[in-house]
Protein backbone atom coordinates (compact mmCIF):
# COMPACT_ATOMS: atom_id res chain seq x y z
CA UNK A 1 0.00 0.00 0.00
CA UNK A 2 2.97 2.39 0.40
CA UNK A 3 3.19 3.21 -3.31
CA UNK A 4 -0.41 4.42 -3.19
CA UNK A 5 -0.70 6.18 0.14
CA UNK A 6 -3.63 8.45 0.89
CA UNK A 7 -1.52 11.54 0.30
CA UNK A 8 -0.72 10.45 -3.26
CA UNK A 9 -1.96 13.28 -5.42
CA UNK A 10 -1.65 11.48 -8.73
CA UNK A 11 -5.05 10.50 -10.14
CA UNK A 12 -6.04 6.92 -9.39
CA UNK A 13 -7.49 6.53 -12.88
CA UNK A 14 -6.11 8.41 -15.85
CA UNK A 15 -7.63 7.94 -19.29
CA UNK A 16 -5.94 9.81 -22.11
CA UNK A 17 -7.05 10.15 -25.73
CA UNK A 18 -9.07 6.94 -25.51
CA UNK A 19 -10.53 5.76 -28.77
CA UNK A 20 -12.45 2.56 -29.43
CA UNK A 21 -13.87 1.25 -32.69
CA UNK A 22 -15.97 -1.79 -33.39
CA UNK A 23 -15.17 -2.37 -37.06
CA UNK A 24 -15.71 0.94 -38.83
CA UNK A 25 -17.95 2.26 -36.08
CA UNK A 26 -16.17 4.52 -33.61
CA UNK A 27 -17.78 4.23 -30.17
CA UNK A 28 -15.33 6.34 -28.19
CA UNK A 29 -13.91 9.39 -29.91
CA UNK A 30 -10.99 10.52 -27.79
CA UNK A 31 -11.94 10.47 -24.12
CA UNK A 32 -9.86 12.16 -21.41
CA UNK A 33 -10.77 11.45 -17.84
CA UNK A 34 -8.99 11.53 -14.53
CA UNK A 35 -10.43 10.28 -11.28
CA UNK A 36 -8.88 11.16 -7.93
CA UNK A 37 -8.76 8.87 -4.96
CA UNK A 38 -12.04 9.02 -3.04
CA UNK A 39 -13.95 10.60 -5.91
CA UNK A 40 -17.33 9.34 -7.00
CA UNK A 41 -17.96 9.89 -10.68
CA UNK A 42 -21.32 9.24 -12.31
CA UNK A 43 -21.49 8.75 -16.07
CA UNK A 44 -24.89 9.35 -17.64
CA UNK A 45 -26.10 9.70 -21.19
CA UNK A 46 -28.42 8.15 -23.75
CA UNK A 47 -28.00 4.47 -24.60
CA UNK A 48 -25.38 3.91 -27.25
CA UNK A 49 -23.40 6.93 -26.11
CA UNK A 50 -20.39 4.76 -25.23
CA UNK A 51 -20.58 5.07 -21.44
CA UNK A 52 -20.50 1.33 -20.74
CA UNK A 53 -17.70 0.84 -23.26
CA UNK A 54 -15.67 3.55 -21.50
CA UNK A 55 -16.17 1.79 -18.17
CA UNK A 56 -15.22 -1.58 -19.65
CA UNK A 57 -12.05 -0.06 -21.11
CA UNK A 58 -10.98 1.02 -17.63
CA UNK A 59 -10.53 -2.61 -16.55
CA UNK A 60 -9.79 -3.76 -20.11
CA UNK A 61 -12.76 -6.02 -20.63
CA UNK A 62 -12.66 -4.10 -23.91
CA UNK A 63 -9.32 -3.35 -25.48
CA UNK A 64 -9.07 0.14 -26.92
CA UNK A 65 -7.94 1.34 -30.33
CA UNK A 66 -5.87 4.36 -29.31
CA UNK A 67 -4.81 6.20 -26.17
CA UNK A 68 -3.87 4.88 -22.75
CA UNK A 69 -5.59 3.74 -19.59
CA UNK A 70 -3.70 4.00 -16.30
CA UNK A 71 -5.03 2.63 -13.04
CA UNK A 72 -2.98 2.88 -9.84
CA UNK A 73 0.24 3.17 -11.80
CA UNK A 74 -0.40 0.35 -14.30
CA UNK A 75 -0.64 1.69 -17.85
CA UNK A 76 -2.21 -0.21 -20.72
CA UNK A 77 -1.78 0.89 -24.33
CA UNK A 78 -4.00 0.33 -27.35
CA UNK A 79 -5.13 -3.09 -28.62
CA UNK A 80 -3.55 -4.55 -25.61
CA UNK A 81 -0.55 -6.41 -26.81
CA UNK A 82 0.01 -6.27 -23.06
CA UNK A 83 0.70 -9.47 -21.31
CA UNK A 84 -1.89 -11.30 -19.32
CA UNK A 85 0.28 -10.38 -16.37
CA UNK A 86 -0.12 -6.62 -16.91
CA UNK A 87 -3.88 -7.08 -17.21
CA UNK A 88 -3.98 -9.12 -14.02
CA UNK A 89 -2.01 -6.40 -12.26
CA UNK A 90 -4.43 -3.71 -13.41
CA UNK A 91 -7.53 -5.74 -12.58
CA UNK A 92 -6.22 -6.52 -9.11
CA UNK A 93 -6.95 -2.94 -8.15
CA UNK A 94 -10.31 -2.68 -9.89
CA UNK A 95 -13.59 -4.18 -8.71
CA UNK A 96 -16.46 -4.41 -11.17
CA UNK A 97 -20.21 -4.80 -10.74
CA UNK A 98 -22.24 -5.75 -13.80
CA UNK A 99 -25.76 -4.96 -14.89
CA UNK A 100 -26.61 -8.66 -15.01
CA UNK A 101 -24.79 -9.53 -11.72
CA UNK A 102 -22.88 -12.43 -13.33
CA UNK A 103 -22.67 -14.46 -10.16
CA UNK A 104 -21.39 -17.99 -10.79
CA UNK A 105 -24.57 -20.10 -10.73
CA UNK A 106 -22.85 -23.38 -9.81
CA UNK A 107 -21.14 -21.99 -6.69
CA UNK A 108 -22.91 -21.06 -3.49
CA UNK A 109 -22.89 -17.48 -2.29
CA UNK A 110 -19.91 -17.94 0.01
CA UNK A 111 -17.82 -19.64 -2.71
CA UNK A 112 -18.77 -16.84 -5.12
CA UNK A 113 -17.21 -14.31 -2.76
CA UNK A 114 -14.26 -16.48 -1.67
CA UNK A 115 -12.98 -18.04 -4.87
CA UNK A 116 -11.08 -15.06 -6.30
CA UNK A 117 -9.56 -14.26 -2.90
CA UNK A 118 -8.00 -17.72 -2.91
CA UNK A 119 -6.94 -17.78 -6.56
CA UNK A 120 -5.87 -14.14 -6.94
CA UNK A 121 -4.72 -13.08 -3.48
CA UNK A 122 -3.60 -16.53 -2.37
CA UNK A 123 -5.65 -16.47 0.81
CA UNK A 124 -6.42 -19.77 2.45
CA UNK A 125 -10.00 -20.96 2.28
CA UNK A 126 -10.51 -20.19 5.97
CA UNK A 127 -9.16 -16.66 5.60
CA UNK A 128 -11.18 -16.07 2.47
CA UNK A 129 -14.39 -17.39 4.02
CA UNK A 130 -13.90 -15.22 7.08
CA UNK A 131 -13.47 -12.12 4.94
CA UNK A 132 -16.44 -13.15 2.79
CA UNK A 133 -18.66 -13.48 5.83
CA UNK A 134 -17.65 -9.99 6.99
CA UNK A 135 -18.59 -8.57 3.62
CA UNK A 136 -21.81 -10.54 3.36
CA UNK A 137 -22.75 -9.23 6.80
CA UNK A 138 -21.97 -5.73 5.61
CA UNK A 139 -24.36 -6.06 2.66
CA UNK A 140 -26.93 -7.70 4.93
CA UNK A 141 -26.80 -11.20 3.45
CA UNK A 142 -24.82 -13.33 5.90
CA UNK A 143 -27.79 -15.70 6.15
CA UNK A 144 -27.59 -16.46 2.42
CA UNK A 145 -23.99 -17.74 2.53
CA UNK A 146 -24.89 -21.38 1.85
CA UNK A 147 -27.58 -20.65 -0.73
CA UNK A 148 -27.09 -20.78 -4.49
CA UNK A 149 -27.47 -17.50 -6.39
CA UNK A 150 -30.64 -18.70 -8.14
CA UNK A 151 -32.36 -18.74 -4.74
CA UNK A 152 -31.67 -15.03 -4.20
CA UNK A 153 -33.62 -12.06 -5.50
CA UNK A 154 -32.03 -9.81 -8.10
CA UNK A 155 -31.30 -7.16 -5.49
CA UNK A 156 -29.67 -9.73 -3.23
CA UNK A 157 -27.62 -11.10 -6.14
CA UNK A 158 -26.34 -7.64 -6.94
CA UNK A 159 -25.38 -7.02 -3.31
CA UNK A 160 -23.50 -10.35 -3.34
CA UNK A 161 -21.77 -9.26 -6.53
CA UNK A 162 -20.67 -6.08 -4.76
CA UNK A 163 -19.33 -8.14 -1.85
CA UNK A 164 -17.51 -10.39 -4.34
CA UNK A 165 -15.80 -7.39 -5.92
CA UNK A 166 -14.95 -5.80 -2.55
CA UNK A 167 -13.40 -9.04 -1.33
CA UNK A 168 -10.28 -8.34 -3.40
CA UNK A 169 -9.77 -5.02 -1.59
CA UNK A 170 -9.91 -2.98 -4.79
CA UNK A 171 -8.80 0.64 -4.89
CA UNK A 172 -11.67 1.55 -7.19
CA UNK A 173 -15.09 0.08 -7.92
CA UNK A 174 -16.73 0.24 -11.35
CA UNK A 175 -20.50 -0.08 -11.57
CA UNK A 176 -22.07 -0.77 -14.98
CA UNK A 177 -25.76 0.16 -14.66
CA UNK A 178 -26.01 -1.85 -11.45
CA UNK A 179 -29.74 -1.29 -10.97
CA UNK A 180 -31.00 -1.40 -14.57
CA UNK A 181 -31.98 -5.07 -14.42
CA UNK A 182 -33.86 -4.64 -11.14
CA UNK A 183 -37.35 -3.63 -10.10
CA UNK A 184 -37.24 -0.18 -8.51
CA UNK A 185 -37.66 -1.36 -4.93
CA UNK A 186 -34.87 -3.93 -5.33
CA UNK A 187 -32.73 -1.26 -6.94
CA UNK A 188 -33.08 0.82 -3.78
CA UNK A 189 -31.39 -1.79 -1.60
CA UNK A 190 -28.47 -1.90 -4.02
CA UNK A 191 -28.26 1.89 -4.10
CA UNK A 192 -28.22 1.92 -0.30
CA UNK A 193 -25.16 -0.36 -0.27
CA UNK A 194 -23.48 1.84 -2.86
CA UNK A 195 -24.24 4.95 -0.85
CA UNK A 196 -22.64 3.36 2.20
CA UNK A 197 -19.55 2.49 0.18
CA UNK A 198 -19.35 6.07 -1.02
CA UNK A 199 -19.56 7.35 2.53
CA UNK A 200 -16.74 4.98 3.47
CA UNK A 201 -14.47 6.78 1.00
CA UNK A 202 -14.38 4.20 -1.83
CA UNK A 203 -13.40 5.58 -5.24
CA UNK A 204 -16.22 4.78 -7.67
CA UNK A 205 -17.14 5.20 -11.31
CA UNK A 206 -20.82 4.54 -11.83
CA UNK A 207 -22.58 4.27 -15.18
CA UNK A 208 -26.20 4.80 -14.26
CA UNK A 209 -29.68 5.83 -15.20
CA UNK A 210 -30.45 6.80 -11.60
CA UNK A 211 -30.50 10.57 -11.75
CA UNK A 212 -30.97 10.88 -7.99
CA UNK A 213 -27.86 8.85 -7.34
CA UNK A 214 -25.91 10.94 -9.85
CA UNK A 215 -27.08 14.16 -8.26
CA UNK A 216 -26.99 13.26 -4.56
CA UNK A 217 -24.20 10.75 -4.09
CA UNK A 218 -21.59 11.42 -6.77
CA UNK A 219 -19.15 14.34 -6.62
CA UNK A 220 -18.89 14.69 -10.34
CA UNK A 221 -21.16 13.93 -13.28
CA UNK A 222 -20.10 13.21 -16.86
CA UNK A 223 -22.66 13.35 -19.62
CA UNK A 224 -21.73 11.34 -22.70
CA UNK A 225 -23.25 11.37 -26.18
CA UNK A 226 -22.00 9.79 -29.39
CA UNK A 227 -18.72 8.66 -27.92
CA UNK A 228 -17.78 11.99 -26.41
CA UNK A 229 -18.03 13.67 -23.03
CA UNK A 230 -20.33 16.58 -23.79
CA UNK A 231 -20.44 18.01 -20.33
CA UNK A 232 -18.87 17.43 -16.93
CA UNK A 233 -18.55 19.11 -13.59
CA UNK A 234 -19.72 19.04 -9.98
CA UNK A 235 -22.92 16.99 -9.75
CA UNK A 236 -25.40 19.68 -8.69
CA UNK A 237 -24.15 22.14 -11.29
CA UNK A 238 -24.31 19.72 -14.19
CA UNK A 239 -27.65 18.27 -13.19
CA UNK A 240 -29.34 21.58 -12.48
CA UNK A 241 -27.63 24.03 -14.83
CA UNK A 242 -26.33 22.11 -17.83
CA UNK A 243 -24.42 24.36 -20.21
CA UNK A 244 -24.96 22.63 -23.54
CA UNK A 245 -28.19 22.22 -25.43
CA UNK A 246 -27.74 18.47 -25.87
CA UNK A 247 -27.20 17.94 -22.15
CA UNK A 248 -30.33 19.99 -21.42
CA UNK A 249 -32.34 17.90 -23.90
CA UNK A 250 -31.09 14.63 -22.42
CA UNK A 251 -31.76 15.65 -18.83
CA UNK A 252 -35.24 16.92 -19.54
CA UNK A 253 -36.03 13.74 -21.49
CA UNK A 254 -35.02 11.45 -18.60
CA UNK A 255 -36.78 13.61 -16.05
CA UNK A 256 -40.06 13.52 -17.96
CA UNK A 257 -40.14 9.73 -17.78
Amino acid sequence: MNETSATDIRPLVLVEGLRKSFGSHEVLKGIDLSVQRGEIVAIIGPSGSGKSTLLRCVNQLETHTAGTVTVAGVTIGPDSASHDRELQKLRRNVGMVFQSFNLFPHLNVLRNVSIAQQRVLGRSQAEADERSMQLLTRVGLADKAKQYPARCSGGQQQRIAIARALALDPQIMLFDEPTSALDPELGLEVLAVMRELAEGGMTMIVVTHEMHFAEDVSNRVLIMADGEIIEQGPSREVMQKPQTERARQFLSAVRDR
Binding site: F98, F104, I115, R164
Partner: protein
Protein backbone atom coordinates in the same frame (compact mmCIF):
# COMPACT_ATOMS: atom_id res chain seq x y z
CA UNK B 1 -38.02 -68.07 -23.64
CA UNK B 2 -36.52 -67.76 -20.18
CA UNK B 3 -33.47 -69.81 -21.08
CA UNK B 4 -33.02 -67.64 -24.17
CA UNK B 5 -33.10 -64.53 -22.00
CA UNK B 6 -30.78 -66.13 -19.48
CA UNK B 7 -28.32 -66.93 -22.23
CA UNK B 8 -28.50 -63.46 -23.79
CA UNK B 9 -28.08 -61.64 -20.49
CA UNK B 10 -24.49 -62.91 -20.37
CA UNK B 11 -23.77 -60.41 -23.16
CA UNK B 12 -25.17 -57.45 -21.23
CA UNK B 13 -22.07 -56.68 -19.12
CA UNK B 14 -19.93 -56.43 -22.27
CA UNK B 15 -22.48 -54.13 -23.94
CA UNK B 16 -22.50 -51.89 -20.88
CA UNK B 17 -18.70 -51.98 -20.68
CA UNK B 18 -18.44 -50.95 -24.35
CA UNK B 19 -21.00 -48.19 -23.89
CA UNK B 20 -19.45 -46.63 -20.82
CA UNK B 21 -15.90 -47.28 -21.99
CA UNK B 22 -16.47 -45.49 -25.29
CA UNK B 23 -18.37 -42.75 -23.46
CA UNK B 24 -15.47 -42.22 -21.07
CA UNK B 25 -12.97 -42.06 -23.94
CA UNK B 26 -15.22 -39.61 -25.76
CA UNK B 27 -16.02 -37.39 -22.77
CA UNK B 28 -12.31 -36.91 -22.08
CA UNK B 29 -11.01 -36.76 -25.65
CA UNK B 30 -13.83 -34.39 -26.57
CA UNK B 31 -12.34 -31.65 -24.37
CA UNK B 32 -9.11 -31.07 -26.33
CA UNK B 33 -11.00 -31.44 -29.63
CA UNK B 34 -13.50 -28.80 -28.53
CA UNK B 35 -10.70 -26.51 -27.39
CA UNK B 36 -8.91 -26.94 -30.71
CA UNK B 37 -12.17 -26.24 -32.57
CA UNK B 38 -12.63 -23.00 -30.62
CA UNK B 39 -8.98 -21.99 -30.83
CA UNK B 40 -8.14 -18.56 -32.23
CA UNK B 41 -5.44 -20.25 -34.27
CA UNK B 42 -7.07 -20.66 -37.70
CA UNK B 43 -5.03 -23.71 -38.72
CA UNK B 44 -5.89 -25.53 -35.52
CA UNK B 45 -9.59 -24.69 -35.54
CA UNK B 46 -9.99 -25.57 -39.23
CA UNK B 47 -8.14 -28.82 -38.72
CA UNK B 48 -10.40 -29.70 -35.81
CA UNK B 49 -13.48 -28.82 -37.85
CA UNK B 50 -12.28 -31.04 -40.70
CA UNK B 51 -11.58 -33.95 -38.34
CA UNK B 52 -15.03 -33.61 -36.79
CA UNK B 53 -16.78 -33.60 -40.17
CA UNK B 54 -14.67 -36.47 -41.51
CA UNK B 55 -15.26 -38.72 -38.52
CA UNK B 56 -18.99 -38.03 -38.49
CA UNK B 57 -19.49 -38.63 -42.19
CA UNK B 58 -18.19 -42.21 -42.08
CA UNK B 59 -20.51 -44.85 -40.54
CA UNK B 60 -19.50 -46.46 -37.22
CA UNK B 61 -19.23 -49.93 -38.72
CA UNK B 62 -16.80 -48.59 -41.34
CA UNK B 63 -14.64 -47.12 -38.57
CA UNK B 64 -14.54 -50.44 -36.79
CA UNK B 65 -13.56 -52.17 -40.04
CA UNK B 66 -10.91 -49.55 -40.79
CA UNK B 67 -9.37 -50.08 -37.37
CA UNK B 68 -9.84 -53.82 -37.00
CA UNK B 69 -9.29 -55.10 -40.55
CA UNK B 70 -7.58 -52.06 -42.10
CA UNK B 71 -4.97 -51.34 -39.45
CA UNK B 72 -5.08 -54.97 -38.39
CA UNK B 73 -3.75 -56.18 -41.75
CA UNK B 74 -0.11 -55.70 -40.95
CA UNK B 75 0.04 -52.30 -39.25
CA UNK B 76 -1.43 -52.57 -35.77
CA UNK B 77 -3.10 -55.72 -34.58
CA UNK B 78 -5.80 -54.96 -32.04
CA UNK B 79 -8.25 -57.19 -30.24
CA UNK B 80 -11.87 -56.77 -31.35
CA UNK B 81 -12.70 -55.15 -28.03
CA UNK B 82 -9.92 -52.56 -28.23
CA UNK B 83 -10.75 -51.82 -31.87
CA UNK B 84 -14.42 -51.34 -30.97
CA UNK B 85 -13.60 -49.14 -27.97
CA UNK B 86 -11.23 -47.08 -30.11
CA UNK B 87 -13.65 -46.63 -33.00
CA UNK B 88 -16.72 -45.89 -30.91
CA UNK B 89 -14.63 -43.71 -28.56
CA UNK B 90 -13.34 -41.67 -31.49
CA UNK B 91 -16.83 -41.08 -32.88
CA UNK B 92 -18.11 -40.23 -29.41
CA UNK B 93 -15.22 -37.79 -28.87
CA UNK B 94 -16.07 -35.61 -31.88
CA UNK B 95 -19.74 -35.64 -30.96
CA UNK B 96 -18.90 -34.66 -27.39
CA UNK B 97 -16.73 -31.84 -28.74
CA UNK B 98 -19.75 -30.52 -30.63
CA UNK B 99 -22.00 -30.89 -27.56
CA UNK B 100 -19.47 -28.97 -25.45
CA UNK B 101 -19.24 -26.30 -28.12
CA UNK B 102 -23.00 -25.83 -28.02
CA UNK B 103 -22.94 -25.62 -24.23
CA UNK B 104 -20.12 -23.07 -24.29
CA UNK B 105 -22.17 -20.94 -26.65
CA UNK B 106 -25.05 -21.11 -24.17
CA UNK B 107 -22.96 -19.72 -21.32
CA UNK B 108 -23.62 -16.03 -20.75
CA UNK B 109 -20.67 -13.83 -21.82
CA UNK B 110 -20.94 -12.24 -18.36
CA UNK B 111 -19.50 -15.40 -16.81
CA UNK B 112 -16.25 -14.95 -18.74
CA UNK B 113 -16.26 -11.22 -18.06
CA UNK B 114 -16.87 -11.59 -14.34
CA UNK B 115 -14.07 -14.12 -13.96
CA UNK B 116 -11.76 -11.87 -15.98
CA UNK B 117 -12.72 -8.80 -14.01
CA UNK B 118 -11.96 -10.69 -10.80
CA UNK B 119 -8.56 -11.48 -12.26
CA UNK B 120 -8.95 -15.25 -11.94
CA UNK B 121 -6.07 -17.09 -13.61
CA UNK B 122 -6.80 -18.90 -16.85
CA UNK B 123 -6.83 -22.41 -15.39
CA UNK B 124 -9.25 -21.36 -12.68
CA UNK B 125 -11.58 -19.71 -15.21
CA UNK B 126 -11.68 -22.93 -17.26
CA UNK B 127 -11.69 -25.51 -14.49
CA UNK B 128 -13.64 -23.77 -11.74
CA UNK B 129 -15.97 -21.37 -13.51
CA UNK B 130 -16.70 -22.36 -17.10
CA UNK B 131 -16.01 -26.12 -17.00
CA UNK B 132 -18.62 -27.04 -14.38
CA UNK B 133 -21.22 -24.97 -16.18
CA UNK B 134 -20.42 -26.66 -19.50
CA UNK B 135 -20.75 -30.03 -17.78
CA UNK B 136 -24.12 -29.10 -16.31
CA UNK B 137 -25.55 -27.78 -19.59
CA UNK B 138 -24.17 -30.75 -21.54
CA UNK B 139 -25.56 -33.41 -19.24
CA UNK B 140 -28.95 -34.01 -20.92
CA UNK B 141 -27.37 -34.13 -24.38
CA UNK B 142 -24.65 -36.49 -23.15
CA UNK B 143 -27.27 -38.81 -21.63
CA UNK B 144 -29.26 -38.83 -24.86
CA UNK B 145 -26.04 -39.59 -26.71
CA UNK B 146 -25.21 -42.40 -24.29
CA UNK B 147 -28.53 -44.09 -25.05
CA UNK B 148 -27.79 -43.83 -28.78
CA UNK B 149 -24.30 -45.15 -28.15
CA UNK B 150 -25.70 -48.12 -26.24
CA UNK B 151 -27.48 -49.16 -29.44
CA UNK B 152 -24.49 -48.33 -31.63
CA UNK B 153 -22.32 -50.76 -29.67
CA UNK B 154 -24.26 -53.56 -31.40
CA UNK B 155 -21.99 -53.05 -34.43
CA UNK B 156 -19.11 -54.40 -32.35
CA UNK B 157 -20.72 -57.83 -32.68
CA UNK B 158 -19.77 -57.81 -36.37
CA UNK B 159 -16.05 -57.78 -35.57
CA UNK B 160 -16.61 -60.41 -32.89
CA UNK B 161 -16.90 -58.61 -29.56
CA UNK B 162 -18.97 -60.99 -27.42
CA UNK B 163 -21.66 -58.51 -26.41
CA UNK B 164 -25.44 -58.73 -26.49
CA UNK B 165 -26.04 -58.65 -30.27
CA UNK B 166 -23.20 -61.15 -30.73
CA UNK B 167 -24.81 -63.56 -28.29
CA UNK B 168 -28.07 -63.13 -30.18
CA UNK B 169 -26.47 -63.94 -33.53
CA UNK B 170 -24.64 -66.92 -32.08
CA UNK B 171 -27.71 -68.28 -30.34
CA UNK B 172 -29.92 -67.88 -33.41
CA UNK B 173 -27.41 -69.84 -35.47
CA UNK B 174 -27.47 -72.59 -32.84
CA UNK B 175 -31.22 -72.83 -32.33
CA UNK B 176 -32.93 -71.42 -35.46
CA UNK B 177 -35.31 -69.53 -33.18
CA UNK B 178 -34.37 -66.18 -34.76
CA UNK B 179 -37.64 -64.40 -34.11
CA UNK B 180 -37.76 -64.94 -30.36
CA UNK B 181 -34.05 -64.41 -29.95
CA UNK B 182 -33.77 -61.10 -31.80
CA UNK B 183 -36.98 -59.85 -30.22
CA UNK B 184 -35.45 -60.65 -26.83
CA UNK B 185 -32.24 -58.87 -27.83
CA UNK B 186 -34.24 -55.77 -28.81
CA UNK B 187 -36.14 -55.96 -25.54
CA UNK B 188 -32.89 -56.09 -23.54
CA UNK B 189 -31.51 -53.02 -25.33
CA UNK B 190 -34.69 -51.09 -24.50
CA UNK B 191 -34.56 -52.36 -20.91
CA UNK B 192 -30.97 -51.14 -20.55
CA UNK B 193 -31.69 -47.68 -21.93
CA UNK B 194 -34.51 -47.04 -19.44
CA UNK B 195 -32.33 -46.74 -16.32
CA UNK B 196 -29.85 -44.50 -18.16
CA UNK B 197 -32.67 -42.16 -19.10
CA UNK B 198 -34.06 -42.33 -15.58
CA UNK B 199 -30.76 -41.59 -13.85
CA UNK B 200 -29.99 -38.72 -16.18
CA UNK B 201 -33.39 -37.14 -15.56
CA UNK B 202 -32.89 -37.55 -11.83
CA UNK B 203 -29.42 -35.98 -11.82
CA UNK B 204 -30.54 -33.19 -14.12
CA UNK B 205 -33.54 -32.42 -11.94
CA UNK B 206 -31.38 -32.37 -8.83
CA UNK B 207 -28.86 -29.95 -10.35
CA UNK B 208 -31.63 -27.84 -11.81
CA UNK B 209 -33.33 -27.58 -8.47
CA UNK B 210 -30.12 -26.30 -6.93
CA UNK B 211 -28.93 -23.83 -9.51
CA UNK B 212 -31.98 -23.15 -11.68
CA UNK B 213 -32.02 -19.66 -13.01
Amino acid sequence: MLDILGNLVTGVPMTLFLTFGALLVGVILGIPICMARRSHHPVLSNLAAAVIVAIRSIPPLVWLFLIYFGLGSGILRLSPLVAALGGLGLITAVNMAEIYRGSLAAIHAGQWEASQALGLPRWSRLVEIIGPQVARISLPAVATYAIGLLKDTAVASIIGVPELAFKGTYLSQQTFKGLEIFAAVGFLYIAMSLPIAWVSRLVDARIRQRVAQ
